[in-house]
Structure formats: C-alpha cells, structure tokens
C-alpha cells in the first residue's frame, strides 16, 4: 500500500482529514484546486497539488469524465471521494472499477444496493431488519407520491434517492403539501446530487436519529464501531452529534441490538469499507432502518474519539486490502463521551446560510478539544458550498465532562466577519433538557433555542470589534 498515489476528490475539512490519514499510512496524498477556489486550505495537508479545471461543482467535483482524465494524467492508484459530491455515485465507482483504480469506499455492488435508498430498504427487509413504511422504489410523479401518502397515512417525507445530509428532503403534512413541494425537492435533488428521483416514506414524529458506524475489510470481516445520536437537527440537517447516544444510555441490550442489526444490514450487501447504518428510533425504543450511507460521514470524529479507532485510516487500509488496526469486535470499546458541534456560516436565529469573508480567526481551547476545519483569516465562504466550516469536537470521561469542555471551547472560538451559529450552540448547551440528554429530532422546532440567542452583543463587544479593525496596522509577528 505504501507509496500508492491517492487523489482526493473533495475540499474543506474532509479533504484535510483524508490527507492526514494518507500521509500517516505512507501514501501520497494528492489534492485538487479549481478555478473557483485556486488556493484552498486543504492543500496544506496534501503532498501534491493538481488543477481540476472549471469553476462550478458540476464542472469540477461532479464531472466524472474530467476526473477520469486527471486520474490518467497523474498516474493515480486510488481515489478518496470524501463525503457529498461523488462519494455515493454508482457511475463513478463503476468507472473507477473499470479502469482498475482503487475506490476508497465500498465495492460497486454495495454502493449500488445501499446507495439507492429504495433498493436498500428491500435489502434490509430481506435481512429481517424493520423498516419505516413507504414507497418500495423511486416515485416518478406527484400523483404516485400522493397515492402512497394516502395509503400509509400522513405526515410523509419526500426525499431524494441520491440524497443525504438532510438535503433534498421535505416533510409534508397532507396531500396539498405534497403537491406544493414535489417539484422543488426534485429540483434540489438534481442540483445537489445530479439525480432527481424521489422516495416517499412515513414521517415518524419526535424520533431519535441514531446511527451505527460500520467498518469492514475485504476479507469478509464486518465490525460495528458503536452508535451516534444525531437528533439535534435543523431543516433535517444534523448540527450536534453525540457518541454514545444519551437516549440509549446504559441500556446495553438495546445498544447491542441496534449495533448487531447494523452489522446484519452491512453483511447483506457484502459491505467492505467504512459506512453508516441510520435508524429512526421512537420513544418506545423501537428502531427502523432508514438508510445506509456508503461513505465516511461528517460526524465520524466522535466515534473516533470514544473508541480510539481511526476510521479514515482504516477505511483506506480496507480499500487496499490491508488488515484493519484491530482483529475482533471485542477490541473496540467505548471510553467516555464525545460531542460534535457543526460550526456553520449561518444566522444563529434564522439558521439561514450567511456566506462571507472570514477576517479574523483565533482559538483558545481547553484540553480534549479537536477542531476539524478549513478556516483561516481571509477565507471566503461562497454560496457554492455547504455552510459548514468546521466541527468542534470534545471528548471527556463522561457526558458532563464533554459538555464542560465543549462549552468552554465555544467561548474560545473567535470567528469574525461572518455570522455563525456559535451563539445558537451556546444557548443549546446551556439549555436544561439538552443538558439532561432529553431531546428528539423535534428539539429545534419545539424547544426553540434560536429564540433565546441574544439579539445583540453588548457595546463592549462592538468596541472590541472596532479595535480589531483600528489596530490592524499594529504589526506584531502575525
């Protein structure tokens, strides 16, 4: 495996994370820059820098023929897709397989079966895993969606077949909302994933989003790396994740059940990489298979922090047929608690994206903080990319310690020049039901922490900001 040349077809913090793992394993990390982002910060960790011509996502990170050409030109042995973009695109993984290039992800069959949410449900059913009622395949028209909705009962959820991360997903309370939203969700699906097909499923109220990390090699070994609770969401996108799940808590039988169910799902498709099986869990602790993400996930760090397993390095080792860092399921244990806050360039009250230029960036963190990010002073967040600019992760001996650390870290995370959701995270971390670990995916909508974000900072905060501008010519070493 050493010396293999691996192209990272991604950007931002995940490109950095992948490059770190490649470097550590002795591979050559190769990063790309585009005409839209000529000096991206992820190149800091890449050993070689190559030009992926074009400006829009469609002409760069989503352009399969162009990427295949780059692979040929730069004598690439393997590709890591990160998350989003082409990470779960069956055409791309097939194109790589045809050329004998190692795709750092699962085999094309697993990508096909699990990447397609309609088929994946069928696979799960056959493996004896309970699934949420809904359409059994792609729903081609608004009429079909309405028909299914009437069968299984409202509310229902419209979701992109190719989607993930909450994009291309919208709940509808009745027939008329289905009619209003169907075309818009199709448009979002097309522009985000290059594929417009939709699914329909029953929308469970106040559920917990709990997912299980899978890590498998090419020799048929499939392990789980325990669960994550990702129920704090806004607009169906996760903003806070925890491992282990406070809802499962000390119910070790339930933990074992959901983790082994996830392994069964993975085994059903011959899974052979890092992946995540997502479940919805009701307040009765019954859980249903939702989907399997056949890629590394945004929130993978909390699992790494509590289990000590380097998921990205092991995903790379698996792809090249190397043995994993551990041998048996018993080698993986949870120690302590980890929490991740997604730091986004967005208004903390409306939670709408707020792109702009970061003019100041400083951190003063306690021990036990990991900040996976791509921020630097001068970094411009453009509307072309996801508003997530960093992941603030804390690990502690227990949940209380992890919360203590991450709360202090928020005070020491200074990002000037754009709006961020840092003030919202502060409110959530100080809020009682969250502190107790009592929350479902309805948290943002029902508890409404966004209404308690202080409307303005005090005048001293403004003086500090003015000072940072006026004192700009002061010099110093930085």
């Amino acid at each position: 495996m050493k010396g293999k040349r691996v192209l990272i077809i991604n950007r931002g913090e995940i490109a950095i994370r992948v490059a770190k793992a490649l470097n550590e394993l002795g591979l050559v990390s190769i990063g790309v820059w585009t005409d839209n982002e000529t000096e991206p910060p992820h190149l800091e960790f890449c050993q070689e820098w190559v030009h992926l011509e074009g400006a829009s996502n469609r002409d760069t990170y989503l352009d399969i023929p162009k990427i295949m050409k780059l692979i040929e030109t730069h004598k690439i042995d393997g590709v890591h897709p990160g998350y989003g973009f082409l990470s779960e695109n069956r055409e791309f993984s097939q194109a790589l397989a045809d050329k004998g290039i190692t795709f750092i992800g699962p085999n094309p069959t697993a990508v096909y079966k699990m990447g397609d949410k309609a088929i994946s449900k069928q696979v799960a059913k056959e493996a004896g895993v309970p699934v949420v009622p809904g359409s059994t395949g792609e729903v081609g028209s608004v009429e079909e969606a309405v028909k299914i909705g009437n069968e299984i009962g409202y509310p229902i959820l419209l979701k992109a077949v190719a989607g993930g991360g909450g994009k291309g997903m919208r709940p509808c309370a009745n027939e008329s909302e289905v009619k209003d939203n169907f075309a818009a969700v199709q448009r979002e699906a097309l522009s985000s994933f290059g594929y417009a097909a939709l699914l329909v499923e029953k929308y469970i109220l106040n559920p917990h989003h709990i997912e299980v990390q899978i890590l498998a090699d090419k020799n048929g070994n499939i392990f789980h790396v325990f669960e994550r609770e990702c129920s704090i969401q806004r607009r169906h996108q996760k903003i806070i994740e925890e491992a282990p799940s406070p809802f499962i808590g000390t119910d070790e039988a339930l933990r074992k059940d959901i983790c082994e169910t996830a392994v069964r799902c993975a085994r059903a498709v011959g899974y052979d990489s890092a992946g995540t099986v997502e479940f919805i869990m009701g307040e009765d602790k019954k859980f249903y298979f939702l989907e399997m993400n056949t890629r590394i996930q945004v929130e993978h760090p909390i699992t790494e922090e509590v289990t000590g397993v380097d998921l990205v390095a092991n995903m790379i080792k698996a792809a090249f047929g190397e043995p994993l860092d551990f041998k048996a399921q018993e080698d993986i244990r949870i120690q302590g608690h980890a929490i991740e806050l997604r730091i986004c360039a967005e208004d903390p009250v409306t939670m709408l994206p707020a792109p702009g230029k970061i003019v100041g960036f400083e951190t003063t963190f306690p021990q036990g903080i990991r900040f996976d990010h791509c921020i630097y002073p001068g970094f411009t967040i453009t509307p072309d990319f996801d508003p997530m600019i960093g992941k603030l992760i804390a690990k502690g001996l227990n949940r209380e310690v992890a919360l203590r650390k991450v709360r202090n870290a928020l005070e020491g995370l200074l990002i000037d020049g754009i709006k961020t959701n840092i003030p919202l995270h502060k409110v959530i971390l100080d809020e009682e039901s969250f502190r107790k670990g009592h929350y479902s995916t309805a948290y943002i909508e029902k508890v409404r922490p966004q209404d308690r974000v202080p409307p303005k900072e005090d005048i001293k905060a403004f003086m500090v900001k003015v000072a940072s501008i006026e004192m700009n010519n002061l010099g110093g070493e930085a």
Partner: protein, 156 residues
C-alpha cells in the same frame, strides 16, 4: 446603549501605548491592545486580557444575528443596519419563485419569495405587515448579498 437602536455611534481616538478611547453617549471607555508571541490581546483594565481575533480590514461588523456597516470619517465607526420592513438579501443567490408582486398586501411571516442559495431553497418571509413597494427582482434573477429586493410599506 439602547438595545432597540438600529444605528449607533462610537467615537474612537488612538492614544499612546496602543490604547483606544471610545466615546459613546458622552461616556468614555478605554481599551488597550498588546502583542504577545505573535498574537494580539485586548484589555479594558490592564489586568484581564483576551484574544483579539481580527486580521485584515473589515467594513462590516457582524453581531450574533445582525450585520452592521461601518462608516468612517464624518461619522466615525457609526453602525447602521436595515429595518424590519426592508427585504435585503442576506446571501448571494437566485430568485426561484416570487409569490407576490408590486402593490400586493402581505402579512408578517408570509412567504414572499424563494431564494436558492448554498444549495438550499430558502423561503423569504415578510418581516412586517404592509404593502410591497419598489420590487426590484424577478424570477430567475441572480442577486448579490445586501441587495434590497423590495420594501414593505405600512400604508394603513
């Protein structure tokens, strides 16, 4: 400072020893800056110090949930933000759908248009009751951040 104000003024003067003196509503406040190990710090009392984050000139101050423009010269460090009745783009994007037209009556909270930005369709809602005036966008139009798309006037 009046918490309800949408605009306020801070007079700033640079004193020796990297000290800034602010005057706001007649009250003076001093802030000192130090550079240590390549980083900048500020203090209001010379004992308690905190990191100063900013680097590079910035004409915009961003509060928790609001953006202020900074004016220099004749009104030093004056800050101004738009009122609730002005629909200003918070981000660059594309107008996907307009639900209302010039002269239509809107209620506070009603969706006026859909703006696609950062891969999301965002419903832009009216911030006040009133009548739409000065509508300057149409469906399919790309807009920059800070663009005044329309105003809602209280014509009752």
């Amino acid at each position: 400072m009046n918490q309800e104000m949408d605009e306020f003024f801070l007079d700033v003067e640079l004193r020796p020893g990297k000290v800034l003196e602010f005057t706001s509503e007649g009250k003076k406040t001093q802030l000192q800056v130090k550079v240590l190990a390549g980083k900048k710090y500020y203090s209001f009392d010379g004992i308690a110090w905190k990191k100063l984050a900013a680097l590079g000139v910035n004409e915009v101050l961003v509060s928790n949930s609001e953006t202020f423009k900074v004016y220099r010269g004749y009104k030093p460090s004056g800050l101004h933000k738009g009122g609730a009745g002005a629909l200003i783009t918070q981000m660059p994007g594309k107008v996907v759908k307009l639900f209302k037209k010039e002269g239509d009556t809107v209620a506070k909270g009603e969706t006026v248009l859909i703006l696609e930005a950062m891969k999301m369709e965002n419903e832009i809602k009216a911030g006040a009751d009133g009548v739409l005036r000065n509508v300057s966008v149409k469906e399919g139009q790309a807009v920059e951040a800070g663009f005044l798309m329309m105003e809602i006037q209280d014509e009752k």
